[in-house]
């Protein structure tokens, strides 16, 4: 406690009283992010208003060896912003100005606390928008998007955060400013812009982001297809891509999901179908018309039992409403749900889904599957009730097995939500000792004393040894006898 008071005193020499919180009731709201199963109150919360204040705060942390955990809007799903008990929670929520939009150059310069959707709203008068659209885009901040390399339903065509940012201002733990990237399309030296993106607040604190803006397509239209067999739906996705089409969005939902969302938003889904696919085309009028016709044909040839094409914008929005409501719908049919985030090569979809179904029966826990089908990113939602003793632990075990299956299928434990605290044990399965050591070395190059978000994303070798995780290396050694091409 004395540490806390001393720190408060130091911070208040340059921060107003309301920017430094330390009373239990004041710091309580910061005890978790979107992954509420993990909670920890921080020793102190700082709410800087300017880049200079962030730099001063970091200098204090560095001098006193106080861990600092950055937080944006707190919508993250992997516990990346879970506070450190002896540390500072550094909220960037007050840095929320859009500093400028350069319509001619198609860029926006924003502070880290600006909401993802607010950028697109500000760019709308120029016919532009910010393409990555995570489902939390109404609330999530761009700083958090950079920390997690967030995706969204349109990223197969338009890319992830890493593809849509040009420049960052970053403060090191010493409070030193790094300008990473440039106003051009590349920068001299190593690609630190890529390294910072998705680094979960462990290498530096982002204080400004220059994002790329994309011209809004003339038109968008969506095909809604229903399948009696989930394998047919998987093949339909491969067939669309095999035909040379990159859809603007391609989403799959299984029967348990469509049932839950239909009851909630009445999107007009066929709830008898084993799976439904949403496949969107966007671009020029003529282009969309041509592409939609081909997608329609491919869906039918792939065994769709029903194909509907959105007739107008209202219907397109309604078709999407169901997908966007999948998470809240899970919250309606179950007291709690646990969202997983593995990515797999799409060809292994049927076997992974069958595996999840078997695990669901084994654990006696229901599981809804929503899937960014175009890029192989699976979001199984395990439904559970935290008030039943032991059910959360069972759910976590179930989830860990799903992630292990994703690695064995040649995929990864996290496509877009980050490792955070949640998937730190599974990192031991995905990476070899030397690779984990290199991750630690990269962190040390930026933050030698490990003060920025310590204990997240990269497990210590001891942790891996203790849990005895067997290394499964992207399924590489699984079928050595098979010819590869």
């Amino acid at each position: 406690m004395n540490d806390a008071l001393e720190l408060v005193k130091k911070l208040r020499t340059f921060l107003p009283v309301e920017s430094v919180l330390h009373e239990t009731e004041d710091v309580r709201p910061y005890e978790c992010d979107g992954l509420s199963a993990y909670r920890q109150t921080p020793m102190i919360v700082a709410l800087p208003r300017t880049e200079d204040e962030v730099a001063e705060i970091l200098k204090v942390c560095h001098a006193l060896k106080i861990p600092a955990v950055a937080r944006g809007a707190g919508t993250g799903l992997s516990g990346g912003a879970l506070p450190h008990p002896q540390g500072m929670l550094l909220s960037l929520a007050k840095l929320k100005s859009i500093l400028g939009i350069d319509a001619a150059a198609r860029t926006a310069r924003v502070q880290p606390g600006v909401r993802n959707l607010a950028i697109s709203e500000a760019a709308a008068p120029y016919g532009l928008y910010y393409a990555p659209d995570p489902s939390s885009q109404i609330a999530c901040s761009i700083g958090g998007n950079v920390a997690e390399n967030s995706g969204g339903v349109h990223c197969l065509k338009y890319g992830l955060t890493v593809h849509n940012i040009l420049k960052l201002r970053v403060l090191t733990i010493e409070g030193e400013l790094l300008e990473i990237g440039s106003d051009g399309l590349d920068a001299p030296g190593y690609d630190l812009l890529a390294l910072m993106t998705g680094s979960e607040g462990m290498l530096g604190i982002v204080t400004e982001v220059t994002v790329k803006l994309t011209p809004r397509p003339e038109k968008a239209q969506v095909v809604l297809a229903a399948f009696e067999d989930i394998r047919d739906a998987g093949n339909a996705v491969a067939n669309v891509i095999g035909a040379g089409i990159i859809p603007a969005g391609m989403e799959m939902m299984d029967r348990i999901t469509t049932g839950a969302v239909e009851e909630y938003v009445h999107a007009g889904y066929n709830t008898e179908a084993a799976a439904i696919l949403l496949c969107e085309s966007d671009g020029a009028e003529e282009e969309v018309a041509e592409e939609i016709e081909r997608i329609d044909e491919i869906m039918r040839q792939s065994g769709a039992t029903e194909v509907r094409i959105s007739r107008d914008e209202a219907e397109r929005v309604r078709f999407w409403a169901g997908r966007k409501a999948a998470f809240p719908a899970a919250g309606r049919v179950s007291p709690d749900y646990y969202c997983m985030d593995g990515t797999i090569p799409r060809k292994n979809l049927a076997s992974v889904l069958a595996g999840i179904e078997a695990l669901s029966a084994e654990y006696g826990l229901r599981c809804m599957n929503v899937f960014h089908a175009g890029d192989g990113n699976l979001h199984p939602l395990i439904l559970y009730d935290a008030s039943h003793p032991g059910e959360l632990e069972l759910t976590e075990e179930f989830g860990a097995k799903i992630l292990r299956m994703c690695i064995e299928a040649g995929g990864t434990i996290t496509g877009e939500h980050g490792v955070g605290i949640e998937k730190i044990n599974q990192m031991c399965s995905q990476f070899k000792t030397g690779e984990l050591e290199m991750f630690h070395a990269v962190k040390a190059a930026f933050d030698p004393e490990s003060l920025l978000n310590p204990g997240k994303a990269i497990p210590t070798l001891r942790r891996c040894a203790e849990q005895g995780a067997m290394h499964v290396h992207r399924g590489k050694e699984k079928f050595p006898q098979l010819p590869r091409f």
Binding site: D102, Y190, G198, K432
Partner: protein
């Protein structure tokens, strides 16, 4: 194939033990790029040639992912992809038939399609590499979305072999456009910069731009209907020799690139008005890339300083891309805080500083 890796790893360990620099080189098509390094100017260094580690490891067109060994010829890889209706969308320059995938990733150079499709690094999904201790490490993977661990695979793109020896690379690939047309319009440089940016702000299928000698050349790529519609909007004359034209820009065979003594590459904000610099210029990437060809007699330090300052003032950087003066600094100087991070990263990946020392910066 494992024996080749074992041999390469043994060479690295031996070099590390002897503190002897290694120059990573396969086809040698990009020897001209970067600073002269210890490995090449005979300061006890030797060539490390991974070209025997070649071939496509895995390619399934419907997954949009290809994994190939670093020694694979770039031409062979592109032929395989084209045969299945796909491509490397960043349109990399080869600079010779011997170009390999490893060199393509290590130099990080992208071609005419970069402004619309993305750069080399945007398509890198995963790498397998040997670090400066000879350890066999893999980062990233073979899937589109992957945020497990720091993005070391993309960090390798453009690192000029200074962080490790690439063994395998997984790349996202894209379908070949159904239709491509190239148009040519006469206009001034200022008008060209304005038009390129105006078009880029609209949903038009512009896939490449090039301004040189009062002519703006524009390539449209995409669905047949979209290309047809855009052609009507843009106007201009359609050219028939479009494939050879864009190849001449990508491969720097176009007369512009052979005209001077030094070739500078200025990567700047796309809307920057025409730059007033000595020599001739050619513009690509919607205005974001300005090539500057400097004549003999103007390859002096004053001009170098002017070029660097000009690029810096408009939010970009300048690279001395081709030069006949080997001692000149090639890449834009980094501020001290950035150089510190670079030095520390180099130390982590290559503690004995054996890989291509000095090729990116003298400090690395």
């Amino acid at each position: 194939m494992q024996e080749i890796i074992d041999q390469l790893a043994a060479s690295i360990r031996a070099a590390a033990a002897a503190n002897a620099p290694l120059c990573i080189r396969s086809g040698g098509t990009k020897d001209f790029y970067g600073q002269q390094d210890k490995g090449r100017d005979g300061a006890g260094g030797s060539i490390l040639d991974p070209s025997a580690y070649a071939g496509i490891v895995d390619y399934e067109p419907t997954e949009l992912v290809v994994t190939a060994r670093a020694g694979t010829r770039l031409g062979q890889l592109e032929t395989e992809l084209n045969g299945r209706g796909q491509m490397l969308a960043f349109e990399p320059p080869h600079f010779g038939a011997a170009a390999t995938l490893g060199g393509c990733i290590a130099t990080g150079l992208s071609g005419p399609r970069r402004a619309s499709a993305g750069a080399v690094r945007d398509f890198v999904l995963g790498v397998r590499m040997l670090d400066g201790r000879g350890d066999d490490l893999s980062f990233g993977g073979q899937v589109m979305k992957n945020v497990a661990g720091y993005d070391i695979s993309r960090l390798m793109a453009g690192s000029l072999g200074t962080l490790g020896l690439l063994l395998e690379v997984s790349l996202k690939v894209l379908p070949l456009p159904a239709e491509e047309r190239t148009l040519r319009l006469s206009m001034s440089e200022a008008e060209a910069v304005e038009m390129m940016n105006r078009w880029a702000g609209k949903p038009l299928p512009v896939s490449a731009t090039c301004f040189c000698d009062g002519e703006l050349t524009v390539r449209l790529s995409g669905a047949t209907s979209a290309v047809r519609a855009a052609r009507a909007v843009l106007g201009g004359e359609e050219i028939t020799e479009e494939t050879s034209f864009w190849e001449s820009i990508r491969e720097q065979a176009h007369p512009f690139f052979r005209s001077g003594k030094q070739l500078w590459r200025l990567s700047i904000k796309s809307t920057t008005a025409p730059l007033s610099l000595p020599g001739k210029q050619l513009i690509e990437w919607g205005g974001a890339l300005r090539w500057l060809s400097v004549d003999a007699g103007m390859d002096n330090e004053a001009v170098q300083a002017l070029v660097r300052k000009t690029a810096r003032d408009v939010g970009g950087h300048a690279t001395l891309f081709r030069s006949r003066t080997p001692a000149a600094a090639v890449f834009h100087p980094l501020p001290p805080a950035m150089m510190n991070i670079h030095r520390r990263l180099k130390e982590k990946f290559d503690p004995m500083r054996i890989f291509n020392p000095g090729r990116l910066y003298p400090e690395l």
